[in-house]
């Protein structure tokens, strides 16, 4: 909250017609000026800001340092572009205007917007800088627009001449998508020397940062906290669900790999697929069921998040209502679900069993019309492992088809 009297020197020369800053250099500059005026007057009620134009018909002080923001904004309106900028004279007139400020306790500061090439010598600028420093006037330079060779050098020399204990700053704003005001917001010109900056500055900075970098989900929590919260929660839910599914699949994979080799791996892949499809199915189910199924929906979601393996039950639950009037269908579904559940739990057992040749052959021999010593049977056995996997898939396909009915 430094008590300050500020004079802003605006460049309204012909060079400001250029459109490399959107919408035009002059408009971008005007926005920046308005923003700075607002920040200064807000940070301390006794701060005063004045404005002068350096080009146009001639050097003109539009408004002497005043704390009335409306006056400043009004005079920014209807400014004309033309002529050539006179930087040295501009700074000197600004210094004079500050000298005659009403409240002598205010610190003196000049903010210069330099968009056109500088025709003064570096020496002259250094002399002006020294004079400012001697009278303890701080100077902020906003370098934008023309990138004349030597312009940056001259401005840097001016800054070093003026700078007393880092009270003066220079900001280079390159042409591009970001407006001058956005670039300025994060600089000490806006936030004040060393302090946290006024509330206005901080809020503007936050808003700008939100707009520029994009808040998560593109919504500023300051503007719409409920929406932002809802989006964040749903994103987290989805992420958790996917993580749980992936984790389960990984667990299954680990478990299976201990018992069986490649085949189980593929089986587990099927399982994972199954799980995922089941999960997404559950999701779809959830979406399909309307509000009257809310409780069911909650349960379904909870279950799908906690235990994807139990998605079978979920499916079962979801489907129970839709197929309530078809007992046969329900029975068939239940059987298949049970089987698949059994498959899940007894996966390892089944694999073991299958691996056990004697057991298989005993089963086969009990089957009518099957000769266990037959080559084709043996081949069949070998492909038994993969068979069980496709069996699994078939079982899953069945209930799906039934659902669609």
């Amino acid at each position: 909250m430094v008590l300050e009297a500020t004079m802003i020197c605006i460049d309204n020369s012909e060079w400001m017609r250029n459109g490399d800053y959107s919408p035009s250099r002059f408009k971008a500059q005007a926005d920046a000026v308005n923003l700075i005026c607002g920040a200064k007057t807000q940070s301390n009620p006794e701060n005063t800001v004045g404005v002068l134009t350096m080009a146009g018909k001639g050097l003109r002080v539009l408004v002497t340092p005043t704390s009335d923001l409306s006056k400043i904004l009004a005079c920014m309106h209807g400014l004309e572009i033309g002529g050539d900028m006179n930087l040295a004279a501009g700074i000197q007139v600004a210094q004079l205007a500050l000298k005659h400020r009403q409240n002598k306790k205010q610190q003196q500061r000049i903010i210069v917007f330099s968009g056109s090439p500088i025709k003064h010598e570096k020496k002259l600028l250094e002399m002006i800088g020294k004079k400012l420093k001697k009278n303890s006037v701080a100077l902020d330079i906003v370098n934008f627009g023309e990138e004349d060779d030597g312009k940056t050098e001259k401005l840097e020399a001016l800054l070093t001449a003026v700078n007393n204990n880092d009270t003066s700053h220079i900001v280079h704003v390159p042409a591009g998508p970001s407006a001058i005001s956005d670039v300025l917001i994060s600089t000490p010109i806006f936030t004040g020397d060393g302090e946290g900056g006024s509330g206005f500055a901080a809020a503007a900075a936050a808003a700008a940062a939100g707009g520029l970098s994009g808040f998560e989900f593109g919504v500023d929590p300051n503007l719409d906290p409920e929406l932002a919260l809802a989006l964040r929660v749903s994103m987290e839910e989805e992420r958790a669900r996917q993580e749980a599914a992936a984790k389960k699949a990984a667990d299954e994979a680990a478990k299976q790999e201990k018992v069986e080799g490649q085949p189980s791996g593929s089986q587990d892949a099927a399982m994972t697929e199954n799980v995922n499809t089941a999960t997404s199915e559950a999701d779809n189910k959830a979406n399909d069921l309307m509000d009257d199924e809310n409780a069911l929906l909650q349960q379904a979601l909870a279950m799908s998040m906690d235990d994807p393996a139990s998605s079978h039950e979920v499916r079962d639950t979801d489907m129970s209502d839709s197929v309530a009037d078809d007992p046969e269908l329900a029975l068939a579904l239940q059987l298949s679900v049970q089987d698949s559940t059994k498959d899940v739990s007894g996966q390892s057992d089944m694999s073991k069993l299958l691996a056990d040749q004697s057991f298989v052959s005993s089963i086969l021999s009990s089957l009518p019309g099957v000769d266990p010593n037959d080559q084709s049977v043996k081949d069949l056995l070998a492909s038994m492992q993969s068979q069980s996997e496709s069996q699994q898939k078939e079982e899953e396909k069945e209930p799906k088809e039934e659902e669609k009915k």
């Binding site: 009620p45 006794e46 000298k99 002598k104 020294k130 420093k133 001697k134 009278n135 303890s136 007393n164 204990n165």
Partner: protein, 225 residues
């Protein structure tokens, strides 16, 4: 008008060495309590509001106001002007109105001592261009005073109620910068204070409970019961 060199214990006479202004030499062995009691006006200076223009280190001006005994201690910082620019402007506000009898300046060595001093009374916000154009209330030619034994008398009638004094040192003895180690003021302090609005409290909305100025009863209006 011939001046005679006449220095005594009690009071000082103008000497021919120092041309127009009056300066005084302490030839007596300065008992500390004696002299330091005289130079006690520094206690009435509002140190936080002391400012200087063209100082190399902002805030270093506050270090030159100290007790008489410490006037030569160069261990602490001193006031120095910027490189290549010997001008200095020191603004000294007081906590109450004072009467200034004389001023003592201890400068730096090698030509960095100021050679001239100009004073302005009760004007704040003076900068270098003002100082040059305005008529000073009094001007002195200074001598190199490294031991701090020289003091410069004021036209006492003009320095009767001083709320603040601005000292302008336009030149020095040829050095690149001007250094000042000590500024001593001799005089007396009255207890008169000037009206200054010290703190301002800003209110968004008036709150009557904050403004219990009038007496509760009557509210300032006279009642005839």
């Amino acid at each position: 008008m011939p001046f005679s060199v006449f220095v005594s214990d009690d009071h000082c006479f103008s000497s021919e060495i120092f041309d127009s202004e009056m300066a005084c030499l302490h030839d007596h062995s300065c008992e500390d309590h004696d002299c330091s009691a005289d130079w006690s006006l520094y206690k009435h200076i509002d140190i936080s509001k002391v400012t200087a223009l063209n100082e190399a280190v902002p805030g270093s001006v506050k270090s030159v106001f100290k007790a008489w005994e410490q006037r030569l201690s160069s261990s602490e910082e001193h006031l120095e002007s910027n490189e290549g620019d010997p001008e200095l402007l020191v603004f000294i506000p007081f906590t109450s109105d004072v009467k200034i009898k004389s001023i003592s300046i201890v400068g730096g060595a090698d030509g960095t001592s100021p050679s001239k001093m100009r004073a302005f009374i009760n004007r704040d916000g003076i900068d270098f261009s003002d100082a040059e154009s305005m008529q000073a209330i009094q001007e002195w030619d200074l001598a190199e005073n490294l031991q701090g034994v020289l003091e410069y008398q004021t036209r006492y009638s003009k320095f009767q109620s001083v709320a603040n004094i601005t000292l302008h040192f336009p030149e020095n003895f040829g050095g690149d910068t001007t250094q000042i180690q000590y500024i001593g003021l001799k005089g007396e302090a009255t207890q008169l204070k000037r009206d200054v609005v010290a703190t301002i409290v800003y209110e968004l909305m008036p709150n009557p409970s904050d403004h219990k100025a009038r007496a509760e009863g009557g509210g300032g209006l006279s009642h005839v019961e």
